[in-house]
Symmetry: C2
Subunit: 316 residues, 2 copies
């Protein structure tokens, strides 16, 4: 990093978004500016021998050596029972104060971990990492409903700046297991060329529409991702796009049942764009796309916990 | 087979219920009486080198040698593109006449295969084998709705003795792939002892009830098979029973949306009993359990096709 950048924006925080499959580290400066980013395939499931200290060193060791006093904060599955140290869930409603108040230091204190959030009840729900993205999204969107597409999509209601309740939809994981392990994945091989963008989009939209118009949901429709191909009504190579439309459509049908206004999409931009297309088919067009807000959330929680105020020195 | 049995009930038909994973062969006598049964793990996916003639010989060769003139009829996936010879689907509505009229002989004519049934439309459906079970169930139940639980459950409406329309629910396959390949299967290992019958039944019923009372279906509930365990609300070893309840509950919720009266369960008796329990939770108690009606259906179709009338000789 050139000296002038250091002068303009002195580092204030090392922030880690540490999930199941990947680890993103941010060197952050005043006001939450992202100065540098490291991305490593060291999600907690890929850390050999559970050597999280070693993985952390690989991700942020150079920053630590350069700025030894820099505080570090992490969010995500790194705080689960399978992670470095368990940061017990805080219950809903949970906002900045509850999350900042529940930080859990790792042994040695090299970094602190943001707790996940639990919602108790007949259908309990848990999240780890999404709470931090929500906190990062709030300054631009404010209260409302946040749709966070992914392996386990979250639909989160925020009132008064706090996570009030949320739901989980296993849409991404369902698609992955059906594609790889069920009869619905048989028409498209791993190495087959993808269908054209036009064909793929039409099949995806058809799946969403079928779900939107179904009187009784996904159960009687799922098999149509096979039967439509067998009867000549769908190109074989588009069957997975149609399946994706069915599954995302089912998530939207259920999620929109409760709330259609003030929606914001948070997460991977390409996946959010796919959900935006699907929401439009359900007639929901006033949707904000916020992208990945993890770094912003880490910064806000660090500030609330008083981690970012300390004077810092640069190693000579 | 002792001689007196032969005298009392001379064989009239070799009938095969030949599916994806198993092959059941019936030696049938006058009136459709089952004289002998062979069951082999020679479903079409397990027949090496697609040597269906050889598999047939293993299943019924002894009967053929003893009664060389005996006609043979098969139903199921053996008539699919992956089977011995493809017996093209007949369209709905399909009854005895349509099925008997669509028989397809294998090369050499050693047996004929009953066609499957296709229902065209926006959500097409196909069946192979279930049409024969339906025909076998009709004499005792008559017109109505037939629920056929399985890997791909079928819900079949019969009017005037003909299959009018039907739906497919991938409940059994969904359970299998979620158990083996998703995060929902992680709490119970393949070799773990099963939960007690009481705990298992309570968890299954709880899953069915959760689905019955859900305003928006399975999508927001599926993850509760994990989150309930994580939050101490469900014993770890009962998580798959609860998952089974959710999935079967979702099938019933969708299926009962259209028709609740005159239901009959057809298929594996243990699985039908599970569905009967679940139907009772939905308030549907007038349900007939018909068991496996494949042999009866094969007999009826053979009769309609004039296969059972020929005089037969016994080898000396």
């Amino acid at each position: 990093m050139p000296e002038d950048v250091l002068t303009d924006a002195a580092p204030r925080l090392i922030a880690l978004d540490w999930g199941t499959s990947s680890l993103r580290a941010y060197l952050m400066g005043e006001g939450g500016a992202v100065l540098e980013t490291h991305r490593l395939p060291l999600g907690i499931m890929h850390v050999e021998g559970r050597d999280f200290a070693g993985a952390s060193e690989r991700a942020v060791g150079d920053w630590r050596r350069r700025w030894p006093g820099l505080p570090a904060l992490a969010a995500g599955m790194i705080g689960s029972a399978q992670g470095w140290v368990e940061a017990p869930y805080v219950p809903c409603p949970a906002g900045l104060a509850e999350l900042a108040g529940g930080l859990m230091p790792v042994p040695g204190g090299a970094l602190s971990i943001i707790p996940g959030v639990v919602q108790h009840g007949d259908v309990p729900n848990v999240m780890r990492g999404e709470e931090t993205q929500i906190l990062g999204a709030l300054p631009s969107h404010g209260d409302g409903r946040f749709v966070m597409p992914g392996t386990h999509s979250k639909w989160v209601e925020v009132t008064g700046g706090r996570i009030e309740r949320f739901g989980t939809h296993m849409t991404g994981e369902l698609f992955a297991v059906l594609r790889r392990h069920s009869i619905l994945g048989r028409f498209v091989g791993e190495d087959d060329p993808p269908s054209s963008a036009e064909v793929a989009r039409a099949a995806f939209e058809r799946g969403v529409e079928a779900l939107r118009d179904a009187p009784s949901g996904l159960s009687p429709l799922l098999f149509s991702a096979r039967s439509l191909v067998l009867t000549g009504g769908l190109p074989r190579e588009a069957s997975l796009d149609y399946l994706s439309g069915l599954l995302i459509g089912d998530e939207l049908r259920a999620g929109l049942h409760e709330m259609r206004d003030s929606l914001a999409l948070v997460g991977d931009p390409a996946l959010c764009e796919r959900y935006r297309q699907a929401l439009a088919i359900f007639g929901v067009t006033a949707v904000e796309l916020l992208g990945d807000t993890a770094a912003a959330g880490l910064w806000r929680i660090a500030e609330a916990a008083g981690l970012t105020g300390a004077g810092l020195e640069t190693n000579p």
